[in-house]
Amino acid sequence: MIQHLRRSLILMVACFVVFGLLYALAGTGVAQALFPHQANGSLTANGSTLIGQNWASTRWFHGRPDDFGPYAANPKKGISGGDNPLVANGVSGESGATNLGPRSKVLVSDTRWLIHWWHEHGVDPTTDLVTTSGSGYDPDISPESAYVQIPMISKATGLSPEVLRKVIASQVHGAELGFLGSSYVNVLRLNEALSAAEHAAR
């Protein structure tokens, strides 16, 4: 018993040093040396391409709604703003899904509000535009979900649908290696491309 206890303590401390501290430090060292951009969170001037954000105005392409409820612009809930009122993925809000089940009344009514919101803005929404994601800040939407938003963006920015179609086409990312997962458009990159197109048009 005493022998077991002594060995347990020694192994626990040794493992804490190796797998708790050295492993994380060596991993961070290698990561920062080889892939600093990724290791620091794939940051651009406007955010992280891996964290979906709150696109408040209809002049930007919208990402997927998050777990704070349908587009938060929902007048019933008294929240103003865009689609993703999530301020952060940490600190002031942790990541996570709605966890509403497939026979939830709340999910039915939330989804109805989302569909209604899109129709008001002249958009016939796709599945991803009215469903929340697993993380609450899915950075991507399907290419179709970008194309269906053209009427809304065109009206707000004055850019022609043809120009917008070209902007979207330039941002479509195929499935990984051609078959892993689905093809998608990164909403932050798409809006950065949209901003560049606006500057070019001026």
């Binding site: 192994l11 493992c15 993925n89 089940g101 999910l107 991507d140 892993l180 689905s182």
Partner: protein, 563 residues
Amino acid sequence: MGFFLTIVVLVAALALAWRYLGSYMAAVFEGRVHWMAWVERPLYRLLGTSPEHEQSWKRYAGALLVFSAVTVLFTYLVLRLQGSLPLNPQHLGGLSPALSWNTAVSFVTNTNWQNYGGETALSYLSQMTLVVQQFLSPAVGIAVAIALVRGLSRRKAATVGNFWVDVTRCLLYILLPIAFLAGIVYVAQGGVQTLAGPVHIHDMLNGVTQTIARGPIAFMTSIEQLGTNGGGFLNANAAAAFENPTGLTNLLDIFLLLCIPFSLTYTFGKMVGSRRQGAALLAAMVLIFGVWVGFTSYAEHQPNPAVAAAGLRHQPTGNMEGKEVRIGDTSTALFGVASTQTSTGSADASYDSFNPIGGFGLLSGIMLGEETPGGTGSGLYTMLLFAVIAVFIGGLMIGRTPEYLGKKIQAREVKLAGFAILIMPITVLVLTALAVSVHAGRVGPLNGGPHGFSEILYAFTSQANNNGSAFAGLSGNTAFYNTLGGLAMLIGRFAIMVPVLALAGSLGEKEVVPTGLGTFRTDNAMFVGLVIGSIILVGALTFFPAVSLGPIVEQLSHGRFFG
């Protein structure tokens, strides 16, 4: 088409792992691998032990229990005291006693049930302490499996191995190198790995300022999956792009969490001197796993009933509620089945929002007892328990004392195997019944109707099987759920490991009976069928009534929605 190719690539990669990782692991535990001897030997000297000093099953079990108690206590203290400890850039306070207990037990038992949101509750030091357990708990699980394999392969032996040596070898030669290499791949794909703390960014286009939590995420992800642990750095687990950035990392997750459990059947075959015996167990695992992947991914490729009822005109993709676009519906379902039929429990989506039959696929996968292929080590030893039950049933049919690998299976062995198999369903059903009968349990679920019941049932099924995934709508961070859940996890781990080690001891002492004409073969299709039958029968007989009240009612109640 994409999904079909994903399966093909996964199968090919796992086949290679089965052959080469399987035989490498056998070499490690037979003491034929030495490239880390420069760490291994000094550590043995420090511990005052060596590979030559083998233990009886009782000493082996004693070492395991004492070591586990020490690691629970250590983890508990770090979580309680994190506010006064270093590496805490967000200045987070300590966790409550009930939550610290639940979390410490959760990581030591390889469950990784998480009643906290990592990015908002834990300091970097606490996360690193949990990573230590993510290395230790799979090593302990594999050690127990190897002890049982030794019991089956040795004759008239009084010992089953040395606990300290088995754990050390597993850590140094198997878990550490694979986890480290995989960690680099995660970072290359976009996984975050920094100790610099959160970052604040002002979006010029949008006029919003974001605070983005970061941390040493990628290297935790690799051991989280490889060790079938499942607990991630972020609350959203593998759904968060910082942890699972691309379709490629999603497949890597699935590969890592399946590779050791499947490959251990090769290790087993090699150590008992017949690869066919290992292949038979592999076949039983693969057949059940394949069926579950099939119907679960089909179910998730169907529209979500609530979204359809809200009036969405066309849903060309399947159920995307709670899923990520870059991963897609079917690959998410594949991930879910892999994660629930090993003891991983990581999630790249909200399992709570799966369609009724999809959710049933996950829940029932855990209920089968986690041996198809199961957790690291725990999968193999649970499968061997079912093999003992299968030869016992076969023996009853032909009226002859059953044997497995030449070892006579007698009353003591059948009692031990039966106890170890039945303790899990008893724990799940009793605790679920208790939770639905008291107020503290009934306030937990987020969803109403049958889905609310499923959330409670899933919680205890997951914890008693050391899985760790959840129908996460359940508010589990209460004294009631933290305490009972901790109890379920301890029972699910140690009330199975101790009888397994007793079985190892009892089988090891026996002589090997020579194979004769009347010997019941355990390496052919008949035996595979008998094992599958035993698994399904035990699972169905114990859980059918409970499952009927949850996902089955939910599937059958067309057009009805619950508040």
